[in-house]
Amino acid sequence: MRTIAHAATAVSRPIPVNAGIGLRAEHHQAVVDTRPPVGWFEAHSENYFAAGGSQPEYLARIREHYPLSLHGVGLALGSAAALDRAHLAQLKRAVDRFQPALVSEHVSWGSLPGSHFNDLLPMPYTDEALMHVARRVRQVQDALGRQILLENVSSYLEFTVSEMREWEFVSELAAESGSGILLDVNNVYVASRNHGFDAYEYVTKMPLRAVGEIHLAGHSRNRHGNLEILIDTHDTHVCPEVWELYAFAIRRFAHVPTLIEWDTNLPPLEELVAEAHLADRQRELAHARAA
């Protein structure tokens, strides 16, 4: 398979190495009023598609003071159904307006012709799927005129038709499409527990120069008889096992920016800021130990 150099990720990083937090509407006013000491913010792209009103207004104000990443959840890159050009055009408008330092989406599908599940559904890891997603990622990157990062998702099932491991699929996809990788450490942990693979091997196999961002989040546990399935809920603190995996990952991806995601059961802004500072401390500790 041909390999494209990840030129764009290797150069300047306007997003600082100290951790950022996911921006939620409930925190807009507090962010504007208190300017919390975090490195940057990441916003869900679709939440700021509105042509006017207070939401894009807030984002523009916050953008004046912080580096920004736009993180999409609705392009459904892995869907066999045609790419939604209207959605892509709206994303382009948001990118043009807010000038984010990073733009990202997911390695997942989410729609059938005429209907949308508004979820990050798992891909079969086949060559066919790989070529399909890579083509669409190139289409998106061409439309936006920039590289995007692709995030590994949490999943609760695997398809028997898969021909490769998830990390191979994600790495090959980045190589094939020229995209970068958003390594979600919580998702790696969740998927590793749900499917019984080695999370540390996954992190080790991620191509060094392609990884341009790391996500951390909380998850929940559902019991099914003797087994449990971890669910990616973004509604709580990062768990100890994920912090440990993060410490390992951040030694390998030493200068990659980290983001704390917390989307439901939102705590006060200060608690999110504290979680970001915890990530900063973990990073410093990991680097001190490595030195």
């Binding site: 559904l121 398809f159 028997t160 087994l227």
Partner: protein, 270 residues
């Protein structure tokens, strides 16, 4: 092995129609029944939809109660699945759905409430616009005024209802006591509202308009000439003060632009 479109079609059918049989053979069990794994995604699909609909229609939810709202969302989703990767659009068809579902029942007013709540959402997110160039408007020659076309601000909405929807809406806001909708507190026989919704710097304002002023704005919003719109307003109210209505709506920013419209017919032919 099914190709990608077929695999996804089967997965989708498992979520929406509960038809697992065609996808189960392609899901690894690994200790947990594939049907339970698929059920996690089905649950996410329903819960995400419910949460979005619930955030868009808080008054409907309060009127029907959480349990019934859940059922309503499920029935609505089956007929009107989300069509966009942007969740904010999925509630658009609810008023039409409720109109059909509750037509001729004592709950026929739900459709009016949903229409108002959707208009509220649209006002929150619509584009900026205006202000109207008052200087240029003053320079329009008298003869050209009848043919002027005014445009409404993109974030202004007109809602005409069959039922007293503003009272119902207000009584079911957070902190309000949720007045009974019967003859004792809010009577459905009280008649409908003519409402103007507009965005201010801090909130969405909802205001009752007199029928004449509502008719004027409604016709202007449809692109009709000032003459046609004014004549409709005067047919509602012979005393209608057109100048005052125009001034008020220009200064509020409701009228956000104008264009000359068709050239007036010369009075005596060519």
């Amino acid at each position: 092995m099914p190709a990608l479109p077929e695999l996804q079609r089967r997965f989708g059918a498992a979520l929406t129609a509960g038809d697992d049989a065609a996808i189960v053979p392609f899901v690894r069990a690994a200790g947990i029944d594939p049907a339970r794994r698929i059920a996690i995604y089905r649950n996410n699909w329903r819960e995400n939809f419910l949460a979005t609909l619930s955030a868009t229609y808080p008054v409907i939810r309060r009127l029907v109660g959480d349990a019934y709202f859940r059922q309503l969302a499920r029935d609505f989703q089956a007929l009107h699945p989300s069509r966009s990767g942007n969740l904010q659009q999925l509630g658009a068809p609810l008023a039409g759905y409720l109109r059909q579902r509750f037509a001729g029942t004592e709950h026929a007013y739900f459709a009016d409430v949903a229409r108002l709540e959707w208009a509220y959402q649209e006002v929150l997110t619509a584009a900026e616009g205006g202000p109207l160039d008052v200087g240029s408007l003053r320079q329009v020659p008298d003869a050209c005024w009848p043919q002027l076309r005014f445009s409404l601000h993109p974030a202004a909405r007109l809602v005409r209802s069959e039922f007293p929807v503003l009272r119902i809406w207000s009584a079911h806001q957070p902190g309000a006591d949720g007045a009974a909708i019967d003859r004792t507190v809010i009577s459905l026989d009280a008649g409908g509202d003519c409402l103007l919704l507009r965005r201010t710097s801090s909130h969405v304002e909802m205001r009752r308009l007199a029928r004449a002023e509502f008719a004027l704005l409604e016709r202007l919003a449809r692109g009709e000439s000032l003459a046609a719109a004014a004549s409709q307003a005067c047919s509602c109210d012979a005393e209608f003060d057109l100048t005052q209505a125009l001034q008020r709506n220009v200064s509020l920013g409701v009228l956000a632009g104008f264009s000359p419209g068709a050239t007036p017919e010369p009075v005596n032919g060519v």
